[in-house]
C-alpha cells in the first residue's frame, strides 16, 4: 500500500469534507436545523466553479455556458452561488422544523440532482464536465498534490476560524440561547427565525467553496459524484465526531475518509472480493453510525474533560 499517497489523499479529501461537516455542525448543533440535502450546496459550488472556469462549448459539448474566467473568480462565485441557492431553498423550507425540514432539504437535493442529470445545457447531463481547471501547478520543488492538500487544509482552517469567531461573539451566544430554549430567547428579543435563516445562509458559503475545491481536485463535475450518499457520509462524519463539538466533527470527517480510502486502496484478487469489501465498508459505516449514536462516547469524553478542568 502506498501510504504517503494515501495520507495526502486523506488530507485533501478529509479537509474538503471537513469543511462540509463543520457547516453541518453549525446548522445542526447551533441552529437546530437538520439539512439532509447538504450535497446540493456542495454540487452547486462544484458546478459553478466548473462553468465559470471552463472554455466555451465546442464539438460534442452540450453545455451552454463556459466563461473561461480565472480560477479565483470561479472559486468566489462558487461560494456566492451556494449562498444564493441557500437563500432560494431556505426561503420556503425554513418555516418547517425537525424532520419536515430534513425531508424538504432532501427533496430539494434530489430535484437538483435530477435536474443536473437531465438538463444537458448546464453540465452535459450524466456525462458531466471533465477537465475542470486546476489552478495550482507544482510550486517550485513542491509537487502539485502537496500544494493541493495545503490549499484544502487552508480552507478548512479559515472556515474553522471564521465559525469559531462567529460562535464566540454575542451573536453566537444568542444562537445557543435560541437552541437551548427558543421561547425564552424570543421573549428576550432574539429574532429566532431570522437568525436561523442567517445561519443557514452563512454556513452554505464554505460548502460551496469546498465544492469548488472538490471539483478542482477530481477535475470533474458529474452528477454521480453528488448523490444523497455524500449527504449521508457527511452526516455520519458529524455524528461520529460528536455533533456538539467542532473538533470532533472534523476528526469524524478525517476518520471516515481515512477508513474509506484504506478500503479503496486495498489490493483485491477478484472483482467479487472488491465488491464484498465495498459492501463491508458500508456495513461497518452503518454499524459505527448506530453505535456512536447509541453510546455517544465522544460526548462522554468531553463531559469528563470538562468535569476534570
Amino acid at each position: 500500500m502506498n501510504w504517503p499517497q494515501l495520507l495526502i489523499t486523506v488530507a485533501t479529501i478529509g479537509s474538503i469534507f471537513g469543511v462540509v461537516t463543520l457547516a453541518l455542525n453549525l446548522q445542526y448543533a447551533r441552529g437546530g436545523m437538520i439539512n439532509f440535502g447538504i450535497v446540493a450546496y456542495f454540487a452547486v459550488g462544484a458546478y459553478t466553479y466548473a462553468i465559470i472556469t471552463q472554455p466555451p462549448p465546442k464539438g460534442l459539448d452540450q453545455y451552454a455556458f463556459g466563461l473561461d474566467w480565472p480560477w479565483w473568480a470561479g472559486f468566489l462565485l462558487a461560494g456566492i452561488a451556494a449562498l444564493g441557492f441557500a437563500a432560494l431553498t431556505g426561503w420556503p423550507t425554513l418555516r418547517l422544523r425537525g424532520e419536515y425540514l430534513a425531508l424538504t432539504t432532501f427533496a430539494f437535493a434530489e430535484v437538483f440532482h435530477s435536474f443536473l442529470l437531465n438538463e444537458r445545457r448546464i453540465g452535459n447531463g450524466t456525462v458531466g464536465l471533465s477537465n475542470v481547471h486546476r489552478p495550482f501547478g507544482d510550486w517550485g520543488p513542491i509537487e502539485e498534490k502537496y500544494v493541493f492538500a495545503g490549499a484544502a487544509a487552508l480552507l478548512l482552517i479559515v472556515t474553522l476560524a471564521a465559525f469559531r469567531q462567529l460562535l464566540a461573539s454575542p451573536y453566537g451566544r444568542a444562537l445557543d440561547a435560541i437552541r437551548d430554549d427558543e421561547v425564552a430567547a424570543q421573549s428576550s428579543g432574539k429574532p429566532s427565525a431570522d437568525m436561523r435563516r442567517q445561519v443557514f445562509l452563512i454556513s452554505a458559503v464554505p460548502v460551496g467553496l469546498a465544492g469548488a475545491v472538490y471539483a478542482m481536485f477530481t477535475t470533474l463535475a458529474q452528477p454521480s459524484l453528488f448523490t444523497a450518499e455524500v449527504t449521508f457520509v457527511v452526516w455520519i462524519a458529524l455524528v461520529l465526531g460528536g455533533e456538539r463539538s467542532v473538533y470532533g466533527a472534523m476528526l469524524g470527517a478525517f476518520g471516515l475518509v481515512f477508513f474509506e480510502e484504506v478500503v479503496r486502496a486495498l489490493p483485491f484478487e477478484t472483482v467479487r472480493s472488491a465488491q464484498i469489501a465495498a459492501s463491508v465498508e458500508h456495513i461497518i459505516t452503518g454499524v459505527l453510525f448506530i453505535a456512536v449514536l447509541r453510546y455517544q462516547p465522544f460526548d462522554r469524553i468531553q463531559r469528563k474533560v470538562r468535569a476534570s478542568t
Binding site: I34, P92, F106, T285
Partner: protein
C-alpha cells in the same frame, strides 16, 4: 390513447407506491419517526423472494409469503434491538440511526447477492388489451394487492381491539398508556405489520421490476415523496398521495423526458409543503 396508456401506468405505479408507503407511514405515526431503512426492508423482501424462488426452486406463491414473514421478523428484530433503546432521544436521532441501519442492510444485501440483474423463476407477464390499453397480469396483481391491503388495513385499524389500540397510541401515547393500552404489544404488532407490508412491496418489486441491489434504496425517494405529501394523515391520505405521485410521474412522461420523473414527484412535494407545511392531511387535531 397514448395519454390513457400513461395514465394506466401511473395508476399501477401509484398502487405500488401505496404498498411501499403504507408501512412507512404506519411507523411514522405510531413510532413517531421516519424509518429511512424501510426501503431496505423492501430489498430484504425482494431478495428473499428471489433466493427462495430462483435458487431454492420454491413456487412464487410459497416463496412470496415466506419472504413477507421473514421481512416482518427482521423488521421487528431491528426495532427491538436498535430503535427501542434510543427511543427517548427523539425523532431526529432515530431518523439518523435508521440511515445507519439502511447502510448495514444495503451492505449485507450487496455482499450476499452481488451485482447484476436478478430475475425470478416465474412466467412472463401476459398482456391484456381492454379498450386498447395494454396492461399485464402482474400490473393488475399490484393494483389488486394495493386495494386488498388498504381495505384490510382499514378494517384492522378500525374494527379490531389491537388496531384501535395502535391508533390510540398514535394519537396520544401517554394518554393511551394511562388508559391501559399495552404499549409493548402495540409497538411489536406495528413493527410486524409495517415490516411485513414492506416485505410485500418488496415481493411485488421482485415480480414487476428489473431487480438489482441498488433498486431498494432508489425506492426511498419515492416513498418519502408520498409520505411527505400525505403528511401525518390517515391511511386514506397515503392512498390519495400514492396515486397522485404515481400518476403525476408517469403522465409527465407524455410531455417531458422520463428522466424527470423524480423531479416531478419532488416538485409536487415542495409545492404542497409551501402551502400546507403539514402535508395533504393538514394539521392534526390536538
Amino acid at each position: 390513447m397514448l395519454f390513457l396508456q400513461y395514465l394506466t401506468a401511473g395508476v399501477v405505479t401509484g398502487c405500488f407506491l401505496i404498498l411501499a408507503t403504507i408501512g412507512f407511514s404506519l411507523t411514522r405515526q405510531v413510532e413517531g419517526f421516519l424509518n429511512i431503512a424501510h426501503a431496505e426492508l423492501l430489498g430484504i423482501g425482494a431478495f428473499a423472494t428471489w433466493w427462495l424462488n430462483a435458487s431454492q426452486g420454491w413456487h412464487i406463491l410459497i416463496a412470496g409469503p415466506a419472504a413477507v414473514v421473514f421481512t416482518a421478523l427482521i423488521g421487528l428484530g431491528i426495532a427491538r434491538t436498535i430503535y427501542d433503546p434510543i427511543r427517548s432521544r427523539g425523532p431526529a436521532v432515530l431518523l439518523i440511526t435508521s440511515t445507519g441501519v439502511a447502510f448495514v442492510i444495503g451492505g449485507v444485501i450487496d455482499a450476499l447477492v452481488g451485482t447484476g440483474i436478478r430475475t425470478l423463476d416465474i412466467g412472463l407477464a401476459t398482456s391484456y388489451k381492454p379498450f386498447g390499453i395494454r396492461i399485464t397480469d402482474y400490473q393488475i396483481l399490484v393494483v389488486a394487492l394495493a386495494a386488498a391491503v388498504s381495505v384490510s388495513l382499514a378494517l384492522f385499524l378500525n374494527r379490531t381491539r389491537i388496531g384501535l389500540a395502535i391508533r390510540a397510541r398514535a394519537v396520544n401515547p401517554e394518554l393511551a398508556a394511562s388508559r391501559g393500552v399495552d404499549v409493548a404489544t402495540t409497538s411489536r404488532v406495528t413493527w410486524l405489520l409495517s415490516s411485513g407490508l414492506a416485505g410485500l412491496a418488496g415481493v411485488m418489486l421482485a415480480v414487476i421490476a428489473t431487480l438489482t441491489t441498488d433498486l431498494p434504496f432508489a425506492q426511498i425517494l419515492q416513498i418519502l415523496a408520498v409520505a411527505i405529501l400525505a403528511g401525518l394523515g390517515s391511511l386514506y391520505t397515503v392512498i390519495a398521495s400514492g396515486l397522485i405521485i404515481g400518476i403525476a410521474m408517469d403522465v409527465s412522461v407524455y410531455w417531458i423526458p422520463a428522466g424527470y420523473r423524480p423531479l416531478v414527484a419532488f416538485s409536487i412535494v415542495i409545492i404542497v409543503l409551501l402551502f400546507r407545511s403539514e402535508g395533504l392531511a393538514g394539521r392534526r387535531a390536538a
